[in-house]
Point group: C6
Chain length 270, copies 6
């Protein structure tokens, strides 16, 4: 199976569809073989999570995904003591389970997590590949079949929430972006059921809106919203109503910006 | 049953009355059919909560409503361990229950919640439609009958409390506003029992006060306050006393602003 | 019984004395009949708490009063799980008890409470009149005999501690102020035992000091302090010593301001 | 027994010595008789705590003293649930005990405590004189024999840590200051054992140093430090060494200020 | 065995390879003999952790490594009480274990830890060499075989997170930097399997990128990233793709900086 | 035994060596006899801790030392409830133990502790000499054999972390500084084993570096670092390497400052 064929939209029932944009599949495989941790960078909704699901399925590996957030602490990943029958019993967290059993552990939006999370993964990302569990006194050695993948959105980073260089420098990194036009049309049509001819102007509109990022809107339209929009149209909603609900309202709350975006949309969607 | 008939004020005993303003009922139904999560935007008291109750009843779906606040954490939604008979037992939260049983889970004023709430709903709002329960190790797949609805008031958002684009872009969105004049008269009269002729000047006054929003007052008069005011009058309170207690005192504490609003009121309410 | 008779100082042994200043008794009764929540605004010591006690007694309703503070959380109102005999047992908080049993629940100085308190009362203050207990999974419907009353002092509000419009707009509101001169003389004399002739100059002094509010002193003299002062004099303290201890020392710590207030006092109290 | 006799230094073995400066003993007694709460204001070491001990002993009342601090919460005063034999058992805090048993409860430096403490005492300081225990559901009525006394040092107050007017206006207040010269000599000599002739220049020096407060030093010399200094001299330390260790080093860490204070001292202590 | 021979890359299977840059091995041994605590300073990925592993193995000492982070508290190092069979049982933390058993305790990035950690090690770093366990009441005396080593990266320090002088002055300190060019080529080739001829231009590129530190990039390329890059090339990735993924993407998210770094890389890697 | 003899370096095996600089031993003894609490002020590593150990041994008193830190709370000193056999059992903290058993309780760097610590010691430092244990309801009276000693470093104090005057004024205070030159040579030689001739230039260098405090370096070289440096030289390290590792690297991370200090060192150490 040639995994670099961009025309290959659906492989088989067990492998989530994924359209490669560059060498990311090969880099993932090489990182897997050489036991190197991987960092995915890119904007919202550009397919990072889908890519990891795809690679995990293709490599036949179990995948544990953890969505990081402000209150996610190291112990949410490593485990904690719970009371059972009057005893405190240790219960593994998802990272510990992955290290014990092998497979991919994917920490989505790692910069959102509390600082101790970044540090708990340090011993897993150098040549020691160990996970010290301070509270139980164990030190787990990651088996060859364990791989750590993390992601973050550079567009959101600020001073308080940036990956420290001492963490970044522990990963091979891939920079993601949105799909090229023709590939995105194929994907959105495939996901929504709407034919490509009607999807094409939606993708063109999305690309126009993405170009406005940083001026009037904080983030460009994601492929996911395009699929939502095409789904609404496929269900019989008028195109302009679908564009308003799925491509414009989720982008902005400002009446002025909203009016401007509707003008842009009306020029494209007739 | 034609659900877009604006004259239809009360459907039947089990369906809370709701007067549609646009295509929102159709959008809700389409989102339901296509399994898309829904975001409702709009000011205080414009009917978002009522709309969700109405749609849940019409679609025959159970509805779980959670009012979000500063201290609402992910575990308040997903569940927590409690001590029972010396054992720690997992108890589902309202979101987990909805995902297990199907139906609508409505998170009201989601920007108020702690940040981890926004992230816990991410895997439920993409094509995976899953709810990972890190603490129990379960991963629930949402059944087709599950729908997530969230709301927020764009007027209150600030830098610390804004929905992140990565969250917003996971929803179809509807922008709500107050009812048109004639519809609001019908609603307020119906809810309060006061006849429409006496309600009309109250609605006119409310529309005048709403136009002052952002200048002297922070937020316009809600339909709810209009119903309160009409109820007081219906109970025999003089109109000006009712207007003071229900439309002016709740809006401002500033003596100057209060005096100005009373002048506006006195010109309308004789 | 004509409840609007201002001369009626003491009704009977079970009803705390209260001298109405305007239509507040009628408004309270109407709100009670129409099941509308009530908001009391006004400065320290102007009689808000007494007014609620009076109305509860007159209407024959049980009254639960909660003094809100910085650390009061929603669970202090709704209830919490406690360990009993090795089991976690739910124990109702004062708000939940009121909702179960009916009667008035009075949240004094609600702006002091944590933000989640304001939100927990939202579903009780719209047409649903429900109290969802997320932790037990129960949703209580308030019986017709339940009424929610809250108060705050607009003079203390700041940006961090203001009632949000979405909360304010759920209440009928009454603005309180100090009693008119002659009524206050009657009240202070009645409470302290000092005859009205000796109380009158104290009330005159208090009114002079209240006029200085915002200039040298943060808050005007409360009726309560007047009662204290009259009590001291009634016990034989010289008037000037009583005024210093009860009307001036509690108002300010600044030596300059204190001296100025003593001059004002000496001109009135001989 | 004439309690206003300033020459009365020691009453009997059970009553701690106290030298009244004005009408404070009479005010305390009147407040006690009229059931009014009392607020003591004054600088460090001027005798507030001693005064309360003295009055409690003279009135034959039990005294519970609580030193307030940043982490003192309402539950430290009211009580908390503890695990005993697998049950959660309520244990009264010092305030609750005082209210149950009667006597004086003295909250020293109340502005230091957490905000909820100030509010927990509100219902005890108005005509209700009740202590609601939210967590047990009890509401205690204070017996006639209960009295609340609080103190604070106005010199330390800042914006974050000031008594709110709504709290201050619930108390009769007394402003304390240091003893007059001759009385202070008697007290320091009595406490330290050093004869009055040798104490006199120390008191004179202290009065000079107190006059510098606000310029070079934050707080004036307390009577307590004078007693320490006299004790060191009484034990054979040279006067200048004792003055340095007991009157200067505790006041400042700045070398320049220290040198200046030593010059002041050397002019007085030979 | 002459441990100062820089040509000695691998000692034996049990001793991790380490190439000394100066007198650091001798200083470590002397500190060990004289029972002096040791502080390692230096940038990310310059080999501090490897150096400690190397010395521990060479001296035949057990090594406990703790990665410090924002939420690491003293009790994470000393131990805590856990519930076992209804009893609270003390469980030693890694520092306590080291003190009991002897060997090296290495606190990596100590400035990241909470402040109480710095203080808990104070009594271990003066002539007392004790570890007081306040919660159990024990005071452990460190055996001669115990040594404390800590590290931090001076480049990250800020006002909030700096080692206090009172902590720093308890350690002998060594300043680390990257390996000299030829040594680094040997190390990277040995770790990655790529021959030295192909590693040499990668090291040259890394040295160019390190020189940009503080201008466009926050931290220079670590030896670890060089090993990653050489591993990718050794697995068949084109050199420029490997350089992008392993040396450039981990350094920066800025498109402009990235382009500039690629130009630098393209000039070196053909 | 004449304890004021500065030549007395080691008394006997049980008394840690201490060289008095002034009247501090006598002041300590007098404070002990008169039951006065003692405050030690001075820079890092000037011998405060050693002084307390010395005096405790000489007076034959047990010594409990607590290193204070940001997270040290009052309950860490007084005690806490622990679960034992299903019961909550009170366990004394080190301060409570000292008060019960007598002896010296030494709170090192007390300004670092949480604010409630400063207040918990207040009743122990006035004439009451009591320790109220709010949580158990006990009030301990300190026996005559109890003495409280605290220390802090005035050089670190800032607005957030200063001893309040109301705390300072409860102590006799001693200001410490480094040893005079000749005494320091004797001490460093005695502790390190290096002969005085080789120690002398190290002490001279330290005195030069101390003079730079506040300009390039935050704190002067401690006697402890001098002992470290002499120990390294005594073990055969070249003097300049020892000076770099023990006197310069612990003082600064700035390359410029480091170079300047090395120049200073090279002028003294040949």
């Amino acid at each position: 199976m040639n995994i670099f064929n961009p025309a290959l939209l659906r492989a088989d029932a067990d492998v989530p569809a994924y359209v490669p944009k560059g060498n990311e599949c090969r880099l993932f495989e090489t990182a897997w073989v050489r036991q190197l941790p991987l960092l995915l960078k890119g904007p919202t909704g550009c397919g990072k999570t889908r890519f990891v699901s795809h690679m995990a399925a293709r490599l036949g590996l179990p995948l544990a995904t953890v969505s990081c957030h402000d209150d996610l602490a190291a112990s949410d990943l490593t485990g904690r003591f719970l009371l059972k029958g009057g005893e405190t019993v240790w219960v593994d967290g998802p990272l510990t389970k992955s290290v014990r059993d092998g497979g991919i552990c994917y920490l989505d939006e790692i910069v959102e997590a509390r600082k101790d999370v970044a540090v708990v993964i340090h011993p897993l990302t150098d040549d020691r590949r160990i996970l010290p569990l301070e509270r139980t006194g164990e030190t787990l050695e990651a088996p060859p079949g364990f791989m750590l993948v993390v992601s973050y959105n550079p567009g959101y980073q600020n001073i308080l929430k940036a990956l420290k260089p001492s963490t970044k420098q522990r990963f091979i990194a891939i920079d993601f972006d949105f799909l090229p036009r023709d590939q995105e049309i194929v994907v959105v049509s495939g996901e929504s059921g709407l034919d490509e001819a009607h999807v094409a102007p939606l993708v063109d509109l999305a690309r126009k809106l993405r170009a406005l990022k940083g001026q009037d809107i904080e983030e460009g339209v994601s492929t996911r919203l395009l699929v939502y929009c095409a789904s609404l149209i496929d269900s019989g909603m008028p195109a302009r109503e679908a564009v308003l609900a799925a491509l414009i309202e989720p982008l902005t709350d400002e009446p002025d910006v909203k009016a401007a975006l509707r003008e842009v949309a009306n020029a494209v969607i007739v």
